[in-house]
């Protein structure tokens, strides 16, 4: 299975994602934002970081990078595109996902472990996932997911929510919403469910020396589904 991780100026979780993908069997290539074409890929990942220093709006400048044309075409053709954290911000700015990411409700950067409840398993990312609640890690200042009333209706109608912030038992409530996201949304799909954006970092939950391993479960399952 081939994957590509795109490095934008200011991306800083690209190496972490490269390590995670390779650990679980992907043949990963690092792609420069200014390249014209994506290499042959089964999965394209936009990693976390601070592309363009979050100038103008998070992800806005990166979404206009030269490589993004190729990414848009890949996604339109059904290719799997995953955006993590800043990657998620780039996907919404590029129009591949609905909504927008705003400043965290409490106006502070937050770095901690959280729980998410998997909402939709009818897709390549979460099908057959052996757990319904994952412990993942967030590290962001602008993770507050927001969308218009029309968008939220469409999201509900098409079952586009991928992950909700929850407690350890899967209860979705305000107490477990770290950043004020509408409806506790932590991750979202496009209509066709081939593009996934999420704020939590699965690539930071793959090493028992550092953390829990729900990230490992996610990646193992993902590569199995793609095969």
């Amino acid at each position: 299975m081939n994957s590509s991780v795109i490095t934008f100026p200011g991306s800083n979780c690209d190496r972490d994602m490269d390590i995670a993908l390779k650990k679980f069997g992907f043949k990963n290539k690092m792609v420069w934002h200014d390249d014209l074409e994506l290499p042959k890929s089964d999965l394209v990942v936009l990693p976390g970081g601070f592309s363009y220093g979050d100038y103008l709006r998070c992800g806005s400048m990166a979404s206009k990078s030269r490589i993004m044309k190729s990414v848009l075409n890949f996604a339109k053709g059904g290719g799997k595109v995953m955006g993590i954290c800043n990657g998620f911000q780039i996907l919404v700015e590029a129009g591949l996902l609905p909504g927008v990411l705003l400043r965290n409700k409490y106006l502070e950067f937050i770095c901690k472990n959280i729980f998410v409840k998997v909402n939709n398993k009818n897709n390549s990312y979460f099908k057959d996932l052996k757990k319904n609640i994952l412990e993942l890690h967030i590290a962001h200042n602008e993770g507050n997911y927001f969308c218009s009333k029309e968008q939220i209706k469409e999201i509900d109608d098409n079952n586009q929510v991928a992950l909700f912030y929850s407690d350890e038992s899967g209860n979705i409530n305000e107490e477990n919403n770290p950043n004020g996201s509408i409806k506790n949304i932590a991750g979202i799909f496009n209509k066709e469910k081939n593009v996934l954006g999420m704020m939590p970092h699965p690539e930071r939950m793959i090493d028992p020396a550092l953390s829990g391993e729900d990230g490992s479960i996610f990646f193992e399952n993902l590569i199995n589904n793609l095969k």
């Binding site: 103008l56 709006r57 806005s60 400048m61 206009k64 700015e93 909504g99 927008v100 705003l102 927001f146 969308c147 218009s148 968008q151």
Partner: protein
């Protein structure tokens, strides 16, 4: 700070764009496009061209 007569405060962004376009209408059309494509995120922001000269 002692300012008690405030109802609401909103914050926005201000851009001054110097184009090579000499025709005012064409310049405004181009800037409209820029706003829609990048400068404003229409999910959360609206924009207004307040002056062109």
């Amino acid at each position: 700070m002692g300012f008690e007569s405030i109802n609401e405060v909103r914050q926005g962004k201000y851009f001054e764009i110097d184009t090579k376009e000499n025709d005012k209408k064409k310049a405004e059309e181009k800037v409209e496009e820029m706003c829609k494509k990048l400068l404003a995120n229409l999910v959360i922001e609206n924009y207004n061209i307040i002056e062109s000269r």
